[in-house]
């Protein structure tokens, strides 16, 4: 089950459609688990890793994935080979993921883009690595034309995510 938690105000229709898109992509249920305030003491642009660490978890089962959605900007992450433009963050095989819709001015019009980034981060929570196919949502999200892509998983990524979901204990 994917539990979507909003950190800012979103149109319920947009959230509903996003849930449907994620359900279609992964084949597991997705529901809006409510709103949550941003933790105090952090400022925009947020450090995604710190923000995710500071956020409390809603009630969920062991294998549920929690997706936090915010409209705030995230700071690029520094890694050994440079700065990674950040539109979301998750730990590989972790239970929680964070996605920012800051790059989308109108969430209703840019829903596909938000869903693609959400799929990417959720894919990492199911141990998917970056993909070679530019059409796939698991392609590195900082690349050119990523945002214009569809909410689509390449066959290998789809099979792997389905396998991980099947292996879930609950």
């Amino acid at each position: 089950m994917i539990r979507l938690v909003t950190l800012d105000a979103y149109d319920p229709k947009v959230i509903d459609r996003l849930c449907k898109m994620l359900y279609t992509a992964f084949g597991v249920g997705c529901e809006h688990a409510g709103d949550m305030p941003l933790p105090a003491g952090q400022h925009e642009p947020f450090d995604a890793q710190e923000l995710l660490k500071a956020l409390p978890s809603p009630r969920a089962y062991a294998d549920d994935k929690i997706l936090y959605l915010t409209s705030r900007k995230l700071k690029p992450r520094s890694v050994i080979s440079g700065d990674v433009p950040c539109s979301g963050f998750t730990n590989q095989n972790g239970p929680r993921a964070l996605v920012s819709s800051a790059a989308v001015k109108d969430p209703e019009a840019g829903l596909k883009q938000i869903a693609r980034h959400a799929m990417h981060q959720l894919g990492h929570t199911w141990e998917l690595h970056h993909c070679l196919d530019p059409r796939c949502a698991m392609y590195p999200p900082w690349t050119l034309n990523y945002d214009a892509g569809d909410t689509f998983f390449e066959t290998f990524c789809r099979d792997k995510s389905e396998q991980r979901i099947r292996l879930a204990k609950s």
Binding site: V79, I80, P85, Q92, H129, Y139, T143, L144, F156
Partner: protein, 295 residues
Amino acid sequence: MAETAQALTLAVGDRVVYPNQGVCRVTSVESKEVAGQTLTFVTMKREEDGAVVMVPEAKVRSIGLRKVAGRADVERVFSFLRSDSDKANLDWKQRARTNVERMSQGGLMGLAEVVKGLQVLSELRPLPTKERELYDNARHLLVAELAASLNTAEVDAEDSVDLVLFPPGRERPKRTAEEFRSAAGDEDGIELGEDLLELGGEMELGPEGEGGSGEAEAEAEVAEPAPKAKGGAKRKAEKKAPAEKKPAAEKKAADRKAAPKKPAKAEKKAAAKPEKKPAGKPAAKKSPAKPAKRK
């Protein structure tokens, strides 16, 4: 790698890399009696999922167990990933053999070579399922070892690799088969030539009038490595073949006499696989085309 040349002394708490399995932590080094012999076993726990593996100390070197790569190795891996040097072999058999070797004995650099090689190949054409799996395994092991080596999260290690492989704001390059051929040596050229000859042999079974131009067309098509094109050439040849298959063997023999190239090619084939084919059938029609198809 340099580490494999050194003596590998393991102590409890050491982080090691088990080839094809990932990063493990040594949990104990103890002696046990097995079948009347006292052996020293190194017990390790895989960090990813906690799987336990016991290896006799005497076999630690031969299985390719090594310590987690150091900072210098990581630097070398990144400079390799940045370079535009590695072109995968277009011969799938050789490529598979090399990749398996790299995965088991190549160390961190071997994993990087597999990832880079397959990534560059994917810019020419989509990877087949097995190679896509191999790519994912290699990437997983590479990321896990880099994370262990740099003491960071796996997600950071993966992003640092991909930032180099897929630089921001740059289009994914489109490769041509020529790049790969020029990067591979002369040997590959010869092998590819043989494949062309095999298909050429099939084409000659077609109606007599179309023989020359059809062959040239097929060769031109096969020179492009796209599997569809090759399949198309083969299908064309097969379509033409039924009309010619029925005539007796003498006709074929007469045709072969008329074209002096073919017996030479056929002999080459027969020499390559002497035990499988009877002397009377120097060139099989269908089987030789298979390796070429899978490239």
